[in-house]
Amino acid sequence: MAYRVIHYINQFFGGVGGEEMADHKPEVRVGQAGPAMALHAALKGEAEVVATIVCGDNYCVANQKEVAALVATTVKKYKADALVAGPAFNAGRYGMACGTVCAAIGEACGIPTVTAMFPENPGVELYKAGTYIIPAADSARGMGQAIPAMAALLLKLLRKEALQSPEAEGYIERGVRVNMFYEKPGAERAVDMLLLKLAGKPFTTEYKMPVFDRVTPRPGITNMAGATIALVTSGGIVPKGNPDHIAASSARSYGEYDIAGVNDLTDTTYQTAHGGYDQTFANQDADRVLPVDVLRDLEREKKIGKLHHLFYSTVGNGTAVASAKKWGEEIGQKLKEANVQAVILTST
């Protein structure tokens, strides 16, 4: 008998509509809709997609528990053996939705779950531990590649076949440690590894120690009254209208803005570009994220020398660490050249 699969997709791929329909409530359709048809075909009769759940991305992200509960009920009703979601490609909220649904169902129902997304989709970092994510292209052009890969991994999971390494199986490493029995006792493996390391030959560690980019803090400033202080934020504060088009998530750039003569950020002059938190309070008064008003007070009170006339801003919401590191170095260099003594970094 064929395995039974439920497929979760968003409003766009379900044919409901685009961004304007992102609040669409989840609906269960019997059989296959949208990408579920291609998945159904790729499963080649060994498994079948018995139902498709279509849900708006905003609705899912805002009502994660409710949507997960509905998917769990559907899994039980249809006696499903597995759940597939996406591919979400590089759509941030769709990635979050696929990730949260897969992780929740895997935990609640104990069935295999598979999704697919672009490796830099913020959903990857958040949910890779809780589900299997196939790396996909950044747009729907990659559908033809993603679906067969998802089907192949899903069938292996359904057959309860032992999985090889993530590289061999073609999914994004989940970072989950699983016990196994090796051929040799640990002591012999240790000496084998030592001999390889001594000979300068390649060896594979059994546990990769996490490497953290630690920065030793500079000594404290002794004369604050003479210091130039700069503001830098990943909270997305930008001049009204977001002139540099800093992206709401997975930012591709940062902005540099002149605040000479600006004493207060107001709802008519500044806003946030950040899409990962409730913007209401930041848009009402951007000083809440980038405290220009308070620093001007300190400047007047001669508690600090002065506030640097430029501030730097980007969005931390799913932004690649490599980009953030590169921008951080650039911004640091600029501040150093401008003789800034200290920086206040604000996040959200």
Binding site: T216, P217, P219, G220
Partner: protein
């Protein structure tokens, strides 16, 4: 004050630590760590590792933490021991943050969740594991002359966030 001892172990309250600052309130083990973390930010340094060697947060409801004022440092615990006043000791900060990372993501056993016999043993072991740091800080086992004192468990105070120094 040169030393501060934070602990939620009721046995510590029976003992005497002349001249030390004490924060011995019946809070959670996580709160003890947070109180220590706050002192590290104020320039104090840990005298011992903030994690146990064989217990996880759900296996030992008590935690004690002994810190030394860096400006009065006599025990150079770290290669990075600071000389300037109130500079943060980075080794201490690193260790206490790593420990908090574990306590904040794992289930933490609260004293009232464990049976009485379990508590008495846990309190005794916490004290035993603190003997070396206490001794290195010059404590003369005051109050321990007659062996481990009688044990009376506490009611947990509703206190979180590390503001438990009172």
């Amino acid at each position: 004050m040169v030393f501060v001892l934070f602990s939620n172990n009721p046995l510590m309250r029976v003992l005497r630590f002349p001249g030390w600052e004490l924060g011995l309130t019946p809070v959670s083990s996580l709160d003890v760590l947070l109180a220590g973390r706050n002192r590290v930010h104020a320039g104090w340094q840990l005298l011992h590792h903030p994690l146990y060697g064989n217990y996880r947060p759900h296996q030992q409801p008590y935690r004690s933490l002994l810190l030394q004022n860096s400006t009065a440092s006599t025990i150079q615990a770290n290669t990075q021991a600071t000389t300037q006043q109130a500079q943060v000791n980075l080794t201490s900060l690193h260790l206490v943050e790593e420990a908090l990372g574990i306590y904040q993501t794992a289930p933490v056993l609260l004293p009232h969740q464990a049976p009485h016999s379990f508590l008495r043993d846990c309190a005794t072991i916490d004290l035993e594991l603190m003997r070396l740091p206490l001794a290195q800080a010059g404590w003369a086992e005051l109050g321990l002359e007659g062996g481990i004192p009688p044990f009376l468990p506490d009611t947990l105070l509703p206190c979180t966030g590390g503001n438990c120094e009172a």
